[in-house]
Structure formats: structure tokens, C-alpha cells
Symmetry: C2
């Protein structure tokens, strides 16, 4: 089976990692959100892309789900001593990724080419693609005005209430070479358990059209997210956060939907959206959970 | 006594450190070469300025004389793994200096303002001034063509034979605010034992005119340099490397000259240049050596 997965950061990276345990390199392509990308301390930082790559490469910090394992913090602590911005916690190993990426971008290399080279250096065999080589910037419309995503997400720790989102540059952004081809080759597209508003929507806006069965895994379990502000965003936008809300979010493109056992009570309502369902354990604490969920998802796709 | 010192990297930093042990903060200003500055991995790096500041702040690596004590190398080793340029060995703590400096420069702050703030953060009380806020770039005319200084110095490890030097931008470069004033206030200007060709000449070219007694400490002992390519440069330019050669180099501005005991045989020839001399032990291995040489230099100035 050939799969193209759409992923944001931590949750998306975990399912992508699970899929990579089962599928051969040529059978899995992961298209990653770049709407969270930003420039900081002169470096071009791609948080979701790096989380996916670090996870697939076995380099991720298992405690946080983001950043590098065995990380040191000597640079950022010295930036702080000099009075510089230290709110975005960049580890020493992680900074290497941003410095070298920035250097290559300034040389005129594309983000997709750089990502390909980095994956090779990190021993990642499956294909990881940034959604676009053109900048797309997720802007959060909040009660305190419009905020750049990382300003909202990390610096303000999601405190300002959201009113909506804007993806600056998305109209002009083309998918990277290979993204549409990977979808055309795939048996199905899997939307990983990432934030629908700010991780998956930007990818869908760039990809525009998917002529394949689309299956989504709910990032909301029992009305809450494992990590990140998706549930809080639904609430602030006047929608009760739930698996049902996520299924409704994707309803126009959805063939199948995977929800957690904790949410089995809303399975029928989701089926009423004309969507096939799978109820299973979707929490991914360990690699074995990731692989098991990936296996469930692939079986489910096979049965559609 | 009020002193303004001119310094390059390691050797200059050591004598400046010695002078700082004796002179009160308001009585010592150190003007530092910025001709070695360059951009690397997107960061603006000032090797001589950082060596002087790290040394004065007690942050320098005592083994190398440059870089930070207790340094780690997690960023650069990961840049190397990604196939990026690792020939300039940047430590993790050191990178913080370059990142934050670059961030502030891009915000429009001047190098002198940034240096002032950094010195405060590092607990440095004496005044350290970059020679100019405008870029001056030392270019090495070599048998392999013209090379940017760090390309010659670090990447090529001074292998190409030099034919001359050019200080790109020096005509337009003004001294920073406070540099001429410090010289006007000083009883004497001390040229530290730094490379005459590539550390001191750029400063002298920017400062242009010194209406004060000028005293230089030879960076060459027994025909050799403690560190760096000064002796090799003299040879390649057809001049026998010696204290005498250094005194001749500065003769048009020189009042006094400090040479090592090892070179006492050439004291008379230096005196014949109409220059007062002091023969003493100029090697600075430990802080006590630095302070002793500084004391000798100050006594010598008092006697002129």
C-alpha cells in the first residue's frame, strides 16, 4: 500500500514514525506544514519539518516530542545573558540545523532540496517534503490583534483568544515538486493527528485538490488534545472541541475517520457525515503505540 | 596614567588584559581591529573583538587564547554532519555572541553600541572599542590571488604566500565615537604585540593621525611569533622577521619600543631609528606575566 501523509508537529510526527515502521521507503511520503516557519535570531526555522525529521531519524527528544535528544543549551543561555531573545528554546544541536539551512537558502537552494539532503545526512529513508518552497506564514487573528504564529504559540503560550487564521502567501504558494505526484501514486492520503486549524489546513490550502480517499486521525481525545492548542482554538471559535468537530472540519474531503475509544459515543454522528469510521486506541506514548496505530490505520484503509 | 591601547587578537588581548589589571576603568581604552571580521553561516563574526572581550572578561580559553573557556562544540559538529562548513571552529557559547550581535546589527544598532552592551553583560569595566562601525575587510594578496582574511588565516591556515594586503573599505571608515577622544585624553598610545600587517595597520589606517607618544611591544621574539603568521609574512615579503623589522614598520609614529631579552643584540639598531627602547621579558604565558609586562610598559612610558 502506498500512503501520503499530511503532518504538523509532534502528534503528526508520531503517526508518520509509526507508518515508517511498516511501509517501505518508496511507499510513504510525508508532506509537512511550513506555515509555522519563521525567522529568529537571523535563522530560518521550520519547527514542524524538524520535528518530523528528528522523529523519523530517531533524533527527537522523547520527553518533549520536539527538539533533539541529548540536547545542550549553551548557545541560548548565553544569548539570554547578552539580553537577547531566549523565549524560543533552541538547543545547540538544533541550531546547527537552522544555521546550515539558512546558509543554503541564502545560497539559493530550495527548502525541499535542503530537506532532502538533511534527511540523507540523518539516515531518513522515507520521503519528507515541506508543503511548499514558497513562504506561507500562519497568522493568528486574536483578541489582541493579528499575531505571527510562533509569537502566539511559543512567546505568548497560546494565551490570546483566537478569532481566526490567515495563511499569508498561501495563494501564491505551489506544492513542492513531488507532492502532487506522491498523492497521485498513493492509495490514500492520511491526515495525521495534528492541529486541523494551523497544521493541516495550510497543507490542504496549498495542495488544493485531492482525488484520493482521505482518512483522518482525530487529534482530539475526550474533548482534549494530547498536546497543543487545537481544543482551545475550537472552543474560542465557538465550536465544542471533539472528534466530531474534527470530522466535520474535514467533511468535504473525508472518506474515513479514526477516533479514540474514549469517543466511541460519537461514532454514529460521524457516520452520519457519510464517513466510514474506525474506533481504536489513538494515544501514542511509545513507539509500539505508533506502530500499532499505523497498522490499524492501514488495515482500515484496506477495508474501505 | 591614561592609556589607549591598539590590539588585534591573542597577543594584543593578553597585554590589554595586563594593562586592565593595573589601570582604572576610566584610564584604559582598547581599540580593536575589525579587519578580520567576516560573515559566516549567516553570522557576523568579529574574531579580534571577541578575543579581547573574552580575555578581559575572564571568559577566554586559556589553552588556545581564543574562544571561550569550558566550551562545547555541539552546533558545529552537527553543521559538519549536515555537510556544512566546519572549518571555522565555532563553539556553542561563542555562537551566542555572533547570533545576538548579528540580530542587533540587523536591527540597525552599531557595532560599538553592541560591544558596549556585551562588555557590560560580561562584567568588563574598561572601554573596548571596535576601530570602526563601518566594515573594513582585510584582503590578503597571495600567490594564489586575493583571499579574504579568514579564508587565508583559518581555512587555508596561512599556506598561500603573501604578496601584500588591502583593507577594503578603509578609506570610507571613520573611527568609532570615543576612539579619537580616548587618544586625545591618553598620555600615550600602546601598540600591543599583535600582527603589524593585519592587526595593527588596519587600526592605524582608520585612526590616521596620533598626536601622542606611541609605544609598541614587539610581537616577534627571536625571529618568531608566539602565535600567528606575522614572522611568516615578513619573510614572504622579503623582510627578515625580527624586533628590528617591527620597529622599522612603525618608525614614522614610534616614540618607544619594547623588545624581548632574546633580542637585546638589536637594541642599538632600534635606538638608531631615533626610538627609545626597553628590553624585558615579553612572553606572556600567565596572568602574572601579562601584569608584569604591563607594569614594565607603564614605567617605560613614565620615563619617556
Amino acid at each position: 500500500m502506498k500512503i501520503t501523509a499530511l503532518a504538523g508537529g509532534v502528534g503528526g510526527a508520531k503517526l508518520a514514525h509509526g507508518l515508517a515502521q511498516i511501509l517501505a521507503p518508496e511507499d510513504l511520503t510525508i508532506i509537512v506544514n511550513t506555515g509555522d516557519d519563521f525567522e529568529h535570531l537571523g535563522m530560518y526555522i521550520c519547527p514542524d519539518l524538524d520535528t518530523v525529521c528528528y522523529t523519523l531519524g530517531g533524533l527527537a527528544n522523547p520527553e518533549t516530542g520536539w527538539g533533539r535528544v541529548g540536547e545542550s543549551w549553551n548557545t541560548i543561555s548565553n544569548v539570554e545573558k547578552l539580553g537577547g531573545p531566549a523565549w524560543f528554546r533552541l538547543g545547540d544541536q538544533d541550531i546547527a540545523t537552522h544555521l546550515e539551512r539558512t546558509r543554503r537558502l541564502k545560497e539559493g537552494q530550495s527548502l525541499s532540496q535542503i530537506t532532502k539532503d538533511f534527511c540523507k545526512a540523518w539516515g531518513i529513508q522515507h520521503t519528507v517534503l515541506p508543503m511548499s518552497d514558497s513562504p506561507v506564514r500562519t497568522m493568528v487573528d486574536s483578541e489582541e490583534g493579528e499575531l505571527a504564529f510562533q509569537e502566539y504559540f511559543v512567546h505568548r503560550q497560546c494565551a490570546p483568544k483566537v478569532k481566526g487564521f490567515r495563511f499569508d502567501g498561501v495563494e501564491a504558494a505551489e506544492p513542492v515538486v513531488g507532492a502532487k505526484e506522491a498523492i497521485d501514486r498513493a492509495d490514500a492520503v492520511v491526515i495525521c493527528p495534528s492541529n486541523p486549524w494551523v497544521s493541516i489546513d495550510p497543507i490542504l490550502r496549498v495542495i488544493k485538490k485531492i482525488d484520493k480517499p482521505v482518512l483522518a486521525v482525530s487529534p482530539i481525545i475526550g474533548g482534549k488534545t494530547v498536546k497543543g492548542p487545537a481544543a482551545k482554538m475550537y472552543e474560542e471559535l465557538g465550536i465544542e472541541p471533539s472528534s466530531l468537530a474534527v470530522a466535520r472540519h474535514y467533511r468535504t474531503i473525508l472518506t474515513g475517520f479514526v477516533l479514540d475509544n474514549a469517543d466511541s459515543a460519537m461514532e454514529n454522528e460521524i457516520k452520519n457525515l457519510n464517513v466510514k469510521t474506525l474506533v481504536t486506541d489513538t494515544l501514542m506514548n511509545h513507539l509500539t503505540d505508533r506502530t500499532r496505530l499505523a497498522k490499524d490505520v492501514l488495515h482500515f484503509i484496506g477495508s474501505l
